[in-house]
């Protein structure tokens, strides 16, 4: 902390930013303006979830719609979201949330179980094909994961598991970025001498991992869990390909698509046959609810994210 402060101080002096020069004012004004551009749409969108259909449709409710917020609107909108699914499937939205939690948490646990020992082995053990495994990991890490979805669909289809959650969970457990994070973690925090010393003490390789490496891997575990959970929760194409055929078995990311498709705003014919009305406030509320788990893990992981910023920053 002290170090950080002194660096800040130095840079201030170096750049001469302490004075209110024209350049400094322009910089702060530009950055604040961009920040406003980024924040306003989000505030306005979240506000929609707290407004009434009429207010949103008429574009009233004042600046960003902030004049039309009320808890009654939320209660009504939630009753519509939760009522979606018809007689047999009322509350399917909560089922979708549950499915998303199941595959996202399960996938994250699997990712941690696979990534921590793999990252350690790549960082601190010498074996043939080490470089091959590393290059394959980096390649799969930098490639967008959607390119594999159709091949994965064909594979899961071949074993007859389309519409089931467990293949999605297992596939989400494959998280090469987590292996890379873990690899960097052990490269930077675990001195090779420590491993060598444990070897001389007669510990086996697997025992060294559990007794020497695991106790110092909290940071890596937190980061892998966080990034994997977020990637799993927001994953759209994989569940779309594997779970669309099972109405109750969807994740909420593709469930939202059903809600959009049932909105009188975009699909009047389908919407006419429903006993719930999903206008923009209801859709915004549903979206807002799907964001809450991300908010929770973000707050939970924040101190780890701050510490591991440079490491975490490698992946887009």
């Amino acid at each position: 902390m002290a170090r950080r402060a002194s660096i800040d101080h130095d840079v201030h002096e170096v750049v001469g930013a302490k004075r209110w020069s024209a350049g400094r004012i322009a910089r702060i004004a530009t950055m604040s303006f961009i920040a406003v551009l980024f924040i306003f749409p989000i505030v306005g969108f979240v506000a929609v979830a707290f407004r009434s259909n009429e207010g949103v449709a008429n574009g009233s409710d004042g600046f960003l719609g902030l004049g039309g917020l009320s808890i009654d609107n939320v209660i009504y909108s939630w009753s519509q979201v939760i009522g979606y699914g018809g007689d047999g499937n009322r509350g399917v939205f909560l089922e979708w949330m549950g499915n998303s939690l199941f595959v996202s948490i399960g996938g994250a646990i699997l990712a941690v179980i696979a990534a921590i020992p793999a990252g350690y082995a790549l960082a601190r053990l010498r074996f043939r094909f080490r470089r091959t495994v590393l290059v394959v990991t980096l390649l799969t890490m930098v490639m967008p994961n959607t390119v594999l979805v159709i091949p994965l669909f064909l594979e899961v289809n071949a074993v007859g598991a389309i519409g089931q959650l467990w293949p999605v969970l297992v596939i989400m457990g494959f998280f090469p970025f987590g292996v890379y994070l873990s690899y960097i973690h052990f490269m930077t925090t675990l001195p090779p001498e420590l491993v060598e010393a444990a070897r001389i003490d007669g510990l086996g390789e697997v025992a060294i991992f559990f007794q020497v490496a695991t106790p110092i891997s909290r940071q890596a575990i937190a980061l892998v869990t966080f990034f994997s959970f977020v990637a799993n929760w927001t994953n759209f194409f994989l569940p779309l390909a594997l779970l669309t055929s099972n109405f109750n078995g969807k994740t909420v990311s593709i469930g939202i698509q059903d809600l959009i498709g049932s909105s009188p705003l975009f699909n009047p014919t389908t919407a006419a046959g429903l006993d719930v009305k999903l206008y923009m406030p209801q859709l915004a509320l549903a979206t807002f609810v799907t964001m809450l788990p991300l908010l929770v893990v973000f707050i939970g992981a924040q101190r780890f994210l701050m510490r591991g910023q440079t490491v975490g920053a490698v992946k887009g």
């Binding site: 660096i7 130095d10 840079v11 201030h12 170096v14 750049v15 350049g23 950055m31 920040a35 924040i39 749409p41 989000i42 306005g44 969108f45 929609v48 449709a57 960003l64 699997l110 696979a114 793999a118 082995a121 790549l122 053990l125 074996f127 080490r130 495994v133 290059v135 980096l138 390649l139 799969t140 930098v142 490639m143 967008p144 959607t146 390119v147 594999l148 159709i150 091949p151 064909l154 594979e155 289809n157 596939i171 457990g173 494959f174 390789e205 991992f209 977020v230 927001t234 759209f236 390909a241 990311s253 959009i260 975009f266 699909n267 923009m280 859709l283 908010l295 973000f298 440079t310 887009g316």
Partner: protein, 321 residues
């Protein structure tokens, strides 16, 4: 005599055992490594290697038809011919290029510009700004889409006046009018992606030793010189990394055009991107060989970009050795 023999045999024996010990240790280490890697390797096989191999196999099969639903067997490159000669094939890539040509330059300028601004603002203000720029990145995927449904609908958007001025009265008109989709996709991808990249490139800037900046300012460099002559050249690997990652991302676009089509009541081209075309082959056309072929085409492109990133960007130098 006997001692002589013993003497001559003994030394190599000891050497052999020493070498043997090393070999045994090596073997123990190798076995330990593969034991620790095994969960990851299993997942790599299930979710990476096997599907690619299987897609290759499927792409070389004959395509079942309505008349012969059980048709199978080796079909050579038929499926690739089907994909390549599809009337939408070239169009999907043209569409991706039409998005990339606007989005990529803006994205790179935005990333570098904002990262430099954040880096020039040490302390609380810069940190707060970096955090704010990062927030839209949390609205990934469907959430970002819903946000844009709100922004793109002239009736309720805070920028409704802008859409009205352009003569658009409905979200369908906004999204499906000629030429609007590439800029809209650009805006969506920019908003969603910029924050993470600002954090990444800012991380690269933070890695530059302060002595360099000190030396430059002693030589009389002002903030502009510092950014233009020192910072940008030093973070060139990060800029290249960002450009290539985003380029690869562009080739797999799916969610945004797919869902915007739904929001526009089907007024957009259903197969706007290569991935959408592959999806169509698999799910609308049930032509698995063509779907596999299409996915392999996109896979090869992104793999090529990935190879450049890993071996040429200079960011993974440690791993290359």
């Amino acid at each position: 005599m006997t001692t002589g023999i013993a003497g001559t045999t003994r030394a190599p024996e000891r050497r052999r055992t020493a070498a043997g010990r090393r070999r045994v240790l090596r073997r123990i280490e190798t076995r330990g490594a593969w034991t620790l890697l095994s969960p990851y390797i299993v997942l790599l096989l299930i979710a990476g290697v096997i599907p690619i191999g299987y897609a290759l196999f499927v792409s070389l099969q004959k395509t079942p038809t309505n008349l012969e639903p059980n048709l199978s067997g080796f079909g050579g490159i038929d499926a690739f011919v089907t994909a390549f000669t599809d009337y939408r094939f070239l169009q999907t890539f043209a569409n991706v290029f039409s998005v990339l040509i606007i989005w990529l330059p803006l994205m790179i300028i935005g990333i570098v510009g904002m990262a430099l601004l954040v880096h020039a603002s040490p302390g609380r203000f810069g940190n707060a700004m970096r955090f704010i720029y990062y927030i839209p990145g949390a609205l990934a995927g469907v959430a970002n889409l819903m946000l844009w449904v709100y922004l793109l609908n002239p009736a309720q958007s805070p920028i409704g006046g802008f859409w009205h001025a352009l003569g658009f009265e409905t979200i369908k008109a906004v999204v499906a009018s000629p030429g609007t989709l590439p800029p809209i996709l650009t805006a969506m991808l920019f908003f969603q992606g910029i924050g993470t990249w600002v954090v990444i490139v800012n991380g690269g800037l933070n890695g530059i030793p302060d002595e360099i900046f000190e030396a430059a300012s002693i030589d009389g460099a002002n903030a502009w010189n510092l950014a233009w002559r020192i910072k940008i050249p030093l973070i060139r690997p990060w800029i290249g990394y960002a450009a290539l990652m985003n380029l690869a991302y562009g080739f797999q676009l799916f969610l945004e055009p797919y869902l915007l089509d739904q929001v526009a009541g089907g007024a957009l081209p259903d197969q706007y991107t290569p991935t959408q075309l592959g999806f169509w082959f698999a799910f609308a056309n049930s032509n698995f060989p063509a779907a596999a072929a299409m996915s392999l085409v996109v896979l090869v492109i992104t793999l090529g970009i990935g190879l450049i990133i890993v071996f040429r960007s200079g960011l993974f130098g440690e791993e290359e050795k």
